[in-house]
Amino acid sequence: MTDTTYILRIENIKKAFGKNEVLKGVSLDVRKGETICFIGPSGTGKSTLLRCINQLTIPDSGKIFLNDEEVTHAGPRINYFRQKIGMVFQNFFLFDHLTAVRNVEIALLKVKKMNPKEAREKAMFELKQVGMADWADHYPAELSGGQAQRVSIARALAMDPDIMLFDEPTSALDPELTREVLEVMKKLALEGMTMLVVTHEMGFACSVANKICFMEHGHIKEQGTPAELLNNPEFERCKAFIGEFREYSQ
């Protein structure tokens, strides 16, 4: 059912911080509507890869294409691409001086130059989507972590992005709050949003992702559907990793 054209192409991305080579040539093609989860040990470049996609981190070499337009080396046009690439962070990064609804509408006003009435309507619509409409007038400090993360998802969605990047969206949350955020993400995935998710939530990855990429030492070591990764003997390393996870979580 998925579109045959690629919405996002990642070509041979390399990135080093000093002597530490974090990404050693990562390539990946993403189809419209796919949800891809990145799993793997800490420090293997998962988050760096996401940040390279919207150029928050500039890769040393390699190319990124969004809808066949090059995102790397875009110059000032990068601000256009970033609107098309929504991002959600581990620590939410809500704007602390703005209420929830102002958080969602500020980029609509400043970047998209929408008129205030339209922007407010759009912001309220997005807050409703994540179940936060009742909290529109609260400041970030008055929200729980799960609520804050849902507002930050609404903030990214308001820009009508083509794809969404989630950088460990639930790692700062307790299980209860994790669930409410994962529910929102699952709904998004089912609605056909293209999503790249760095996560340690194996349950979410296995039930929602079309594809799981297991990353280690700056490479995508193994990739496949959740069923393939769990059942095929060739995905040894990934299974071992998941096994370790299970040990601790039981």
Partner: protein, 223 residues
Amino acid sequence: MALSILIDWFPYLFSGIVLTLGLVASALIIGAGVGLPLALGQVYGSLPVRSAIATFVWFFRGLPVLVLLFLFYFGIFPALGLDLPAFYVGAVVLGLWGAAYQSQVFRGAIQSISEGQMIAARSLGMSRFQAIKSIILPQAMRIALPGWSNQYPEILTESSVCYAIGVAELLTRSSQIVSQTYVTMPIYLACAVIFILLSYAGTSCIHMVEKKIAIPGFGPGGS
């Protein structure tokens, strides 16, 4: 006797108050107007910009205001061919002196904003400039306000050094009244009371502003 002299001379003293407040207001405006760009330059500028600003700050913080005043009044402005009235020299010197201090208050506030705020703003497609203007500065200004408000009583009291170049402000007028009437203590006491009242009134206004723009859970005033 002293009271009737005070009443007689009050209009004269009052115009001194007006001039003092004029000095303070101009100095605060110049101080913030110059101090904020200096702070931005020091945080976001290139190395030459940062060094130039550091030199400016070092110069103005390293000299007594009175010395600065003499340097500008007798040296720098005349050398530039500017024949400015003493009031303007006083306002500019107090303003630049304040700017050096204020730039450091603003710089600290800007640097205290977590990096995530900028990252989030950029990830939404804001330019660096938009992010600074709409996200960083509104937060930094709230954090800076309590420290910044110290500037008001400081400049108010320092403004009295303009006496030395003959600006007809509160202290100058007081001492003129003293030399006319030979009444000393009551006049200087009145001068002191007026300074303290001005200081109190201004600081109260700033606290009101602080309360008004406070945001729940944000900044030093937050809960």
